[in-house]
Symmetry: C2
Subunit: 299 residues, 2 copies
């Protein structure tokens, strides 16, 4: 039985960083998120690929036990071509070919509609809303997005935020969406829209979890070599909801732990291109790094 | 008996931020550092002011028990005129009038030469070296600097780094000095020069303490209103060494605590212009915020 539903993109990525280049590699928000979630729970994904999508990639997701009944096939796979400059903080886009994503309508297979944990990973907010409409009674909805939707579909995005339990944003997006330089103010504004919690992802600087009255600061993991940050935010979100679904405990204390597991998966993900690092690690690596996160913030 | 020696600047600052403006206010690296240190210990400062330096500012430092036997008077006081834009991350300089600082030669009064704890706050590295030469046998030397000296006196700065026990840098300076984007690599390079520890200050993102094999990540304090970040790094350094001098314990465990006390003073300092906030708080405010720092990183 699948216990986390994840809607987002499945993509073929061409990415260049100062440390190498990959072409047509497996990527997309739903891919990273479901792979990261699969360490803790049994995710199912809602997305679309084209007939050009390599069979081996489908096999890779299947082998992780990821439910693919909601993965449509139509036209050509969404393709993102981007690069990072030396500081690796910001993805720059060379080319975006929406392809099969352009006319994609989210359809949740019947067997997934009762899933309690829903992750609306980065994709058009209209399809995030559509997914929610089809779910029976989701208990816990986590929402991610990106600057493009804040700029182009803010109204629809606000509608989804109102229905989310946890909103994920990076620091730039938080400032952009709420038009303030203060992350505390941005978080308070977000919470006033409905979510019980807001998580602000700050890349190498860690992540902040804001609830109505409290605040948690997760450290960044001190990586010596960052090869490719693509998918770190998605891996964070996937691990976050995967851990919560596994433990089925939504206390603030457990949300904090979930933020650390999210940070663990994101930090691993940055160490190699595409899903290469996540494919190579196991629970012992994850638990080892979790303990390091404890150690580096102890005083 | 004074127990911390601090060399640095004493300045009259004209500062504009999006939240207000002050003219000819008390500032300077040695001022902020010694004021912050005075919550924990009895600092003495080495610096110079002009005959225009207001008596009330001298009185303010005296009343805090700060040793002023090493404060020379010559010409006109050093004056910095700067501003911050909306994001408050970077000080921009309108005008720097070195005045009496231009021909300043550090002279440590006899009664201070046996002090064990020395903070070389931001000033010309040649005067930092000169100060060290005059000290008898300093036990623990903390060094701060700024991008200007990295750009203009790198050789002399490296000489001081070799003699320091702890090097303080902000993240931009660390990357500039060691020509790498990785803060981990920058810290390792710094340690290979001699210091036992490197602290990388990241403003709102907190601070990192690197020792040879270990790493500590101090959270940033979630300030809703930042009025003026001037002097935050100096306040950090002053509180850091002040706490260490008070406890006289240089274990890594205690260095971590000192980093948190540094962060507490820096976060208070940002809440108002000049030394206004540091003048208004007491040990109970400091200890309250110290406990908050524990709480926000607990998982």
């Amino acid at each position: 039985m699948n216990d986390v539903l994840i809607i987002g993109t499945v993509a073929l990525d061409t990415i260049e960083t100062p440390f190498g280049k990959i072409e047509n590699a497996l990527g997309g928000s739903a891919t990273y998120a479901s792979f990261a979630a699969s360490f803790f729970s049994k995710p199912a994904l809602i997305s679309v690929v084209g007939s050009d999508f390599p069979k081996e990639y489908v096999g890779l997701l299947e082998k992780r036990g990821i439910g693919l009944a909601g993965l449509k096939t139509a036209g050509k796979t969404f393709h993102w071509d981007g690069f990072y400059e030396y500081d690796m903080n910001e993805a720059k886009t060379r080319k975006t070919e929406l392809n099969s994503l352009e006319h994609f309508k989210a359809e949740v297979p019947k067997e997934y509609r009762g899933i309690k944990y829903v992750f609306l990973a980065n994709i058009d907010p209209e399809q995030q809303l559509e997914t929610l409409r089809q779910m029976k009674n989701p208990e816990f909805v986590v929402l991610d997005t990106m600057n493009f939707w804040i700029g182009h579909k803010k109204k629809q995005l606000i509608d989804v935020i109102k229905r989310a339990d946890v909103l994920l944003l990076n620091d730039g997006e938080a400032r952009q969406l709420f038009n303030t330089v203060s992350l505390v103010k941005a978080a308070n504004e977000a919470i006033s829209l409905g979510p019980k919690a807001v998580i602000i992802k700050k890349g190498e600087h860690g992540a902040l979890l804001f609830t109505k009255k409290r605040h948690f600061s997760a450290p960044g993991y001190p990586l010596e070599n960052i090869k490719d940050p693509t998918g770190c935010g998605d891996s964070f979100g996937g691990a976050f909801i995967g851990y919560l679904a596994k433990t089925n405990d939504l206390s603030e204390r457990n949300l904090r732990k979930a933020v650390i597991y999210g940070s663990v998966l994101a930090s691993h993900n940055a160490e190699d291109f595409s899903l290469n690092r996540l494919r190579a690690i196991g629970m012992s690596d994850i638990n080892k790094r979790y303990r390091e996160f404890r150690e580096i913030r102890e005083f």
